[in-house]
């Protein structure tokens, strides 16, 4: 069982760790339509990488809703979850896309011997 390092940190350290996570903006792209997902896989099998990349973009456009990405802040999921270095499933609260991510880990600073003579 991996340790949730969040539980090893004090409030100040958690605040700093959250700031570290949010310093790297991560934005949900929204779901890739199933038809395009299959097409991307086919293009990759054929070695047509640039076309696969383009298909991955267009397949996330959703003209029926007027949106071309979800835009939700994925860091909210990371901050709320455990910081145990393990892989976790997630579901975007805005668009509902499901996926997986690997949580960060943070080393708790070693305790200092406050009060010791200097």
């Amino acid at each position: 069982m991996a340790t949730d390092t969040k539980k090893l940190l004090n409030a100040k350290q958690i605040e700093e760790a959250e700031a570290f996570i949010r310093a790297q903006p991560r934005i949900c792209r929204g779901p890739l339509r199933e038809q395009e997902r299959k097409a991307v896989a086919q293009l990759l099998d054929e070695g047509r990488l640039e076309e696969a990349k383009a298909m991955d973009e267009t397949g996330r456009n959703h003209p029926e809703t007027g949106a071309n990405t979800c835009g939700a802040d994925f860091n909210n999921i990371v901050v709320a979850g455990p910081w145990d270095g393990r892989q976790h499933p997630y579901k975007c609260p805005r668009c509902g896309v499901v996926g997986k991510y690997t949580a960060p880990t943070f080393a708790a600073p070693q305790p200092t011997n406050e009060g010791d003579p200097v």
Binding site: R26, R29, G99, P104
Partner: protein, 245 residues
């Protein structure tokens, strides 16, 4: 003149391990790229340059039996060199030196489909996660590092993002280094980087937002294999994007 897509290139890091004991990551290696389209069927390898060229090199891969092997070659200019061994897959091709003027192609079979192109001033093309297998009793997570570089001479890539645009096997996630042009590494590819890895549904913004001319962002690629996962031969693609004047 604007930045072109061709100027946004993914290079390898200095340490691309072929086992679970070697260092993974480090600084950018601008002579090597993780670009090698896999064989569609077992075949011999053929190599050819585009002009006078007598450089030597080596192809690494797996034979039809599954055994890892290698085969050395010497280029004969623009005349194709057909190697002897039949490969089930190619893991990497390495030239022993660079050339400022010559481009070398690796082909699947004599006169076959080009599977890798080694451009001027470079030596290596390789796959990721060479010789990585699942474990019967534990998940295996391996991290290797590549770099997305803006090779334009003057312009910054504005609002630069990195995305994992395809992962058919659904076992890849990515994370960015904390700063551009970093040289961080881990002891082995099994060593945790402590970073947050996300899948192909998430776009990652490059630290500092813009990627300056000549700068590169390290991208850690994490392969997670479940317990006793079946053998696969898959691919993934990364995309470095942004805007330009």
């Amino acid at each position: 003149m604007s930045i072109t897509a061709a100027e946004l290139i993914f290079f390898s890091s200095a340490n691309i391990p072929a086992d679970d004991a070697s260092t993974s990551g480090g600084a950018i290696s601008t002579t090597s790229r993780p670009e090698l389209t896999q064989w569609s069927a077992s075949a011999v390898a053929a190599v050819i340059s585009d002009g006078a060229d007598t450089r030597t090199g080596t192809v690494y891969g797996r034979l039809a039996t599954g055994v890892a092997d290698s085969e050395a070659f010497t280029l004969t200019g623009a005349v194709e060199v057909v190697l002897a061994k039949t490969w089930e897959r190619i893991q990497r091709i390495v030239l022993d030196s660079t050339s400022a003027s010559r481009t070398v192609l690796l082909k699947q079979g004599s006169g076959g489909t080009t599977r890798a192109t080694i451009t001027t001033n470079e030596t290596t093309r390789h796959i990721s996660f060479q010789n990585s297998a699942s474990d019967p009793s534990a998940t295996k997570a391996r991290a290797e590092k590549v770099f997305g570089k803006n090779t334009n001479g003057t312009l910054s890539l504005l609002g630069a993002t990195v995305t994992l645009t395809a992962d058919p096997a659904a076992n890849i996630t990515i994370a960015l280094a904390a700063s551009v042009d970093d040289s961080g590494s881990v002891a082995t590819r099994l060593t945790s980087t402590g970073l947050t890895y996300s899948d192909d549904n998430v776009a990652l913004t490059v630290p500092g937002t813009n990627l300056a001319a000549g700068s590169a962002i390290g991208v850690w690629v994490l392969q997670s294999l479940g317990i006793a996962a079946a053998a696969t031969k898959s691919t993934y693609t990364l995309k470095l994007a942004g805007t330009t004047i």
